[in-house]
């Protein structure tokens, strides 16, 4: 009997000790679902979709659209935003604390690190350049939205759990350099090509260079209140190297006809239906009989019925107010981030504002930009002709071209997909005059996540304080 016991004991002991050696336990603890490292290509695909999705095309855009009165909130959160009932830290939670900072920016940074000198995929300069352009756009759109944000100490992980907030002035200056770096990287000798994982330009470095210059022009122009003539000169110099036609547009045009991959505004209009046409936007078109009205706007019982921001009725069904048309909002509608038409309107403005104003050059750029915008909107040539016949649209004499005409065309051109940019432009130019009886915020509130986790650094401002390029102060 003792023999059995001892054999039994020895067997059990072997089983017990073998089954829990550190080596076996380490193997069991190796995650089979998630790799420890991935190549740049697997990060790039996510980033070139996430940037347009999160920065250009979802929450920030929908609220901006309400604020800038491109649309009127006819339902739910957007109607609350229109009536300023929910201008609080929750507004920014998704964009800042779930999307841009913890997901998009770290991945872009890793691409830059991996592809640059000393990185595991050193020499993938096209990817590095693309990532820098996307970083630049993301940071600038973010500082426009919130004002001061973490930049120099952002996304350092365990090295800095409470990043400081940089001034908007310093971010603008740093990003202009970042875009210059991007342009130079995109011109370097590249070790392998980038392709399908770049959903925007398919890995074409030249296209990205044009986009980088165009963005430089857009954001230089943004500083018109801070440095009217200097900003114009810089913007014009960069614009000269920017897009040369609408074919160069910085656009996400890779939506598909299946759930989730549809144009984000299309999904919103199909599922949530928060937006009606704003009376502010409609009147601007209507006063010059804009041919884009029937293309952009639906009718209710045979009439255009825009909604008054701030006081509209609840109308998710769309039985009361006009809405964005299927001509503009459809499943595979391209999502422009920046266009040739916008670049030309920037040029027009800068020609008027530069140290030695040049109205002729301004009118030429204005005409070119407007034509590109109308063409993009699908206006046929006869309608363009009739539209151009109105001097308040296209003055015969360059001297009659006003800043307001340029602002107005940009305001229309940025409808509906360029809402984030249009909201920044309204704060810079004051065009158009808002009709919402409630005061319009001049920035988004900081998210609760930052207020809780980084309280000592979050600036003490309200959404009604202008950002640096708006009123010249950082608060």
């Amino acid at each position: 009997m003792k023999k059995y016991i001892s054999i039994f004991s020895v067997l059990l002991l072997m089983l017990f000790t073998l089954s829990c050696s550190d080596e076996i336990m380490d193997e069991i603890d190796t995650d089979p679902n998630n790799p420890t490292d991935v190549p740049i290509s697997m990060l790039m695909s996510g980033c070139t979709a996430a940037t347009p999705y999160w920065v250009t095309g979802t929450t920030l855009a929908w609220y901006s659209s309400i604020f800038v009165e491109h649309t009127c909130g006819a339902h739910g959160q957007m109607r609350d935003a229109d009536r300023r009932a929910n201008i609080n830290s929750q507004l920014s939670e998704n964009s800042w604390a779930f999307q841009i900072y913890p997901r998009l920016l770290p991945d872009l940074k890793i691409i830059v690190e991996k592809g640059s000198a000393g990185g595991s995929e050193e020499g993938k300069w096209i990817d590095v350049g693309i990532a820098k352009v996307l970083q630049a756009y993301t940071f600038l759109a973010s500082t426009d939205t919130w004002g001061r944000i973490p930049y120099s100490e952002a996304t350092l992980g365990a090295e800095n759990r409470k990043p400081a907030y940089d001034t908007q002035e310093s971010i603008y200056s740093a990003i202009m350099n970042l875009l210059d770096d991007a342009i130079s990287d995109l011109q370097k000798e590249n070790i392998s090509t980038t392709g399908g994982e770049d959903y925007i330009y398919g890995g074409d470095p030249d296209a990205w260079i044009l986009a980088a210059y165009s963005l430089k022009a857009r954001y230089a122009n943004r500083l018109s209140n801070v440095d009217p003539t200097g900003s114009a000169a810089i913007a014009l110099a960069d614009a000269a190297n920017g897009f040369s036609s609408s074919l160069d547009d910085f656009t996400f045009d890779n939506w598909a006809n299946d759930l989730g991959h549809e144009n984000t505004w299309f999904q919103e209009e199909n599922e949530r239906r928060h937006h009606a046409i704003s009376v502010t936007f409609y009147n601007i078109l209507d006063e010059v009989n804009d041919p884009r009205i029937p293309l952009f706007i639906t009718q209710v019982n045979g009439e255009y019925v825009p909604a008054q921001n701030g006081t509209s009725e609840e109308d998710q069904a769309g039985t009361i107010y006009s809405r964005m048309s299927e001509h503009v909002i459809f499943a595979t509608a391209p999502l422009p981030i920046m266009t040739y038409a916008e670049l030309k309107l920037i040029e027009a403005e800068c020609h008027l504002r530069k140290a030695a104003p040049d109205a002729t050059a301004a009118l030429a750029a204005y005409t070119e930009g407007l034509e590109a915008a109308l063409f993009q909107a699908g206006v046929d040539s006869s309608a363009v002709e009739a539209y151009f016949a109105q001097p308040e649209v296209l003055p015969a004499d360059a001297a009659n071209l006003t800043m307001e005409m340029i602002y107005k065309q940009k305001y229309i051109h940025l409808w509906p997909y360029g809402a984030v940019e249009a909201y920044a432009e309204w704060r810079r130019t004051g065009y158009p005059t808002m009709t919402n009886p409630f005061e319009t915020p001049r920035r988004f509130p900081y998210p609760q996540n930052e207020i809780s986790g980084n309280a000592e650094n979050v600036p003490d401002v309200t959404p009604y304080n202008g950002v640096w390029w708006d009123d010249g102060t950082e608060d």
Binding site: L12, T36, T58, W62, A85, P102, A158, L259, S452
Partner: protein, 1071 residues
Amino acid sequence: MALGTLSLFGQAREVTGTVVGAEDGELLPGVSVAVKGTTIGTITDLNGKYVINVPQNSDVLIFSFVGLLTQEVEIGNNLVLDFSMELDLLEIDEVVVTAMGIRKEKKALGYSVQELDESQISGAKNMDISKSLQGKIAGVNVKQSSGMPGATSHVTIRGNVSLTGSNQPLYVVDGMPIASEKAFMENVGEGTNPSSRVVDLNPEDIESISVLKGATASALYGLRAANGVIVITTKSGSAARAAGKQTLVTVNSSFSSDRISRLPELQSTYAQGNGGVLNLWSSGSWGPRIDTLQNYQSQEDNLFFDDPYETSDGNPPPQVPTVYNNQEDFFQQGYTFTNSVDISSATDKARYSLGMGRTDQKGIIETTGMVRNNAKFNGFFDLSDKWSASVSANVSNVDIDKIPGGSNLANPLFTVYFAPRSYDLTNKPFEREENPYQQYHYRFAMDNPYWALKNNNYNEITNRFFGNASISFQPYDWMRINYRIGLDRFLTTGHEVISLGSGGQGRGYPEFGMEPAAGQIDDYNYQRQELNSNATITFTKDFGDFGLDAVIGNEFYDITTKTHSMTGTNITIGGFDHISNTGAQTIFMELTEQRVVGFFGSATVDYASMLFLTVTGRNDIVSNMPSGNRSYFYPSVSAGFIFTELGFLKDQQVLPFGKIRASYSQMGQAGALYATRTLYTAKEDNEALGSGFLDNDFTFPYQGSPAFTLQSTLLSNDLRPQNITTYEIGADLRFYENRLGIDYSYYYVNATDQIFNVPLAASSGFRGEYRNAGELESKGHEIILSIVPIRTSGGFEWEILTNYSQNQNMVLSLAPGVERVQTGWQNFTSVGAYAYEGQPYPVIFGSGYVRDDNDRIVVDSRSTVAGEPNPFYGMPLQGGDEKILGKVNPDWDASLTNTLRFKGFTLTAMLFYSKGGYISSGLTGLLRNYGAAKECEDRETPVVLPDAAKGYLDPATGDLILEGDNDIEFLKGEDYYSTVLWGIAESKIFDKTLLRLREVVFSYDMPQRWFTNTFISSISVYANGRNLALWTDYPNFDPESSTSEGNGIGAFEYVSLPNTRSFGGGLKITF
């Protein structure tokens, strides 16, 4: 003389006799008769007779029977020994199942263990055993999700002590742990709620449940038992042995009818629309008064926004304004059938039970239901004097049809609860004749509920096997070696279809050239396998007045899971629910493995059956903790002192039994799997591009490219297990022949080094950091009071049993600089369940009213804003601070069970009271938002909000400017309910105090004499009811239903299905 001769020659003698009950003199079958100091034993037959061979040296027989006093009798010179057994009124020799299946006398324990017997478990015919625990065990709290068949329930014992880990107990069936929690977590805001796997157990198979409440009780089980253990013993032939039959067959059939327990209260004055204007496409009931409406055409007659008042020839007759009962029409009467057969058998060498059961449940919503088939075998075999074996095997098949809850667009209840009263949801067509996937519905994003029931489909099938085999070897009287190996394996397959043409994604309008589109099919498999191995050596020996009872052992378990799912979107052929019929597919795969190896030991020393001291220790080695830091040791010590054994207290009548006990233990809990380094993760599922707004995420791989992203949680390899220290003291006192019994416990639990996702400012690049931080405590009182006010010699007995539990838990600290951490359901941004420093856990946190220094609500004092009339004049201001709105768990709860017994009749009724605790009622918020709530009935009487101040928030500075006491009249209408209250989370917080008549069981055991000379042994009939009555101030819904996951359960309720109210009856026959 003859006897003497027998002794002299060393021969055994045959002793016979008859055993009767002392109280009534009836013959007692099934009484165990054993010869003291030997393994020789037998049981009495049907006539109470026994025959036993008594060896020469032995002179004492032990008679024992459940519920009767075990007694030793000297044989002396008798060869015929008749005996009458007395009731064991004190039940102090009661044996309970403790950790590792070790049976111990309850009086020897230094900690609290509470048991339920068969009738307490299955008396009221709850289909889910976790639901039958509610109110029956002090300290156990059961939270239910909804009244859906197979709906999850969440069990906690003595409150929450883990922030983000599980707080649910371990389930052990026939000596082996099994999986009990839900297979996987689904975001309840979206899909259907997967069932917790306790539902696989058939309550009819269970003989007893023993709840090990504190960490000391469960210490031997190690890491996974930190929240207590529910030890389940299935039937094993004891019944046959007790009945003195070799084979006993029990057939049990029951039926119950289920109705919805509570419906929201609706207004019936106003029609569909907004701003007082009829709008047949509005989701709101903010239209004109129904009694002022003229006849109008329904939506279907002019789908495309013609003037609804316009009539033309050829159209169906105009709609006559009236009030419809859409809710009542929608719900049906559900029913549950249960049938089970149990065959128990007992011989000298073996006892076993084979059980089979089937449960058919039809839900209160037409397409919902559950079918459960169970089979189980449990047997014990004596192979020889020294070897014995046991086998337990369970097979189940559970098939559940359900509907999604929460804010899912396909949740039919979303329309049922809120449909305007002027809208005839029931009788209007829900689909077009020419194309059934083209639905009629006044709402755009949500499905017509009838259309959804017909076309959408949510099914979950689980096939499961679990069981174990053990072998025991007893080389010496005092030593026993046992090895047990067990397997628990199940496969859950889910098939969910959101039909072509569903919701806002693909309704389509043929008039606009848009055909029904979209739709989604999800097909998933979840497989879980748990291998358990357990080896123990036990020692039992007496040394004079001292007794030793010790065990050493090893446990090994390895748990693997495998999840595969396919999601196809854009269905082409309606009704063909196959993934090949979809335009785009995404797949998901996840594999996990965890292994724990534990070594443990325990020793109990008793002195003179008066003083008991137990020490235990366990060392666990855990795969999912960092290398070099994965081995942990936990000790416990407990003591019990039966002070009534002291000389001066012995043998008195007032307090025949009294014990005090105390214990201390330490226990650990490991972190999540694969949480020791930051990895890259595929941009699918949780990491896909989502917006927080849209229903569908942008998923990868897309156009041939996969996408990965760095995980947004910072992980590190210096985790330690969270440490739980428990102190417990208690007393067990029995007065006057046990007519009054009090069992009291006080416990204090302190859990340090919590492992959780400590939030980080997202600008750091991470949303959180998974690490050790924080401390929670939980303390409470439990009182079990039993009283027998009446016990007559005529057989009438009235018994009162009360379970009282009070638990206070508190978040002592989180991490430095972290005030709160969100837990549970995170779908709402405006309100959440949080762990909040210095507060009970969890609390509801969200936007409050703007209040003045006297805590009065401040209403908007501006009659105009920017020259326009202010629509919110006189209404509470938006923009109040976010704050704690209430704690989720009740202050205390208590049950009161009255049992009356007379002859064969038994009537049991349990009242359950739960005091305090708050819930965020999304349903009430939505009812107001849509103008459907009863409280939105009066819109024409100007009111002034009482006890309020007036003022406004300065837009430039955000400062509150006060302008005195409120005197502003306004109408409580759409702006008030839809915008103002909707935006203030505090307005949706309600106290969920309730009193409920939870269970009533009336049964009648027919007299034995009716069946003499038949094959039938006994018949009992019973009637029962569950949730028969409810008293609460909670509005519109059942306060015990909630929509949440994990530790946040009970914090939110959002368009789910209330519990059901059931009554029924059944028949139990044994032969």
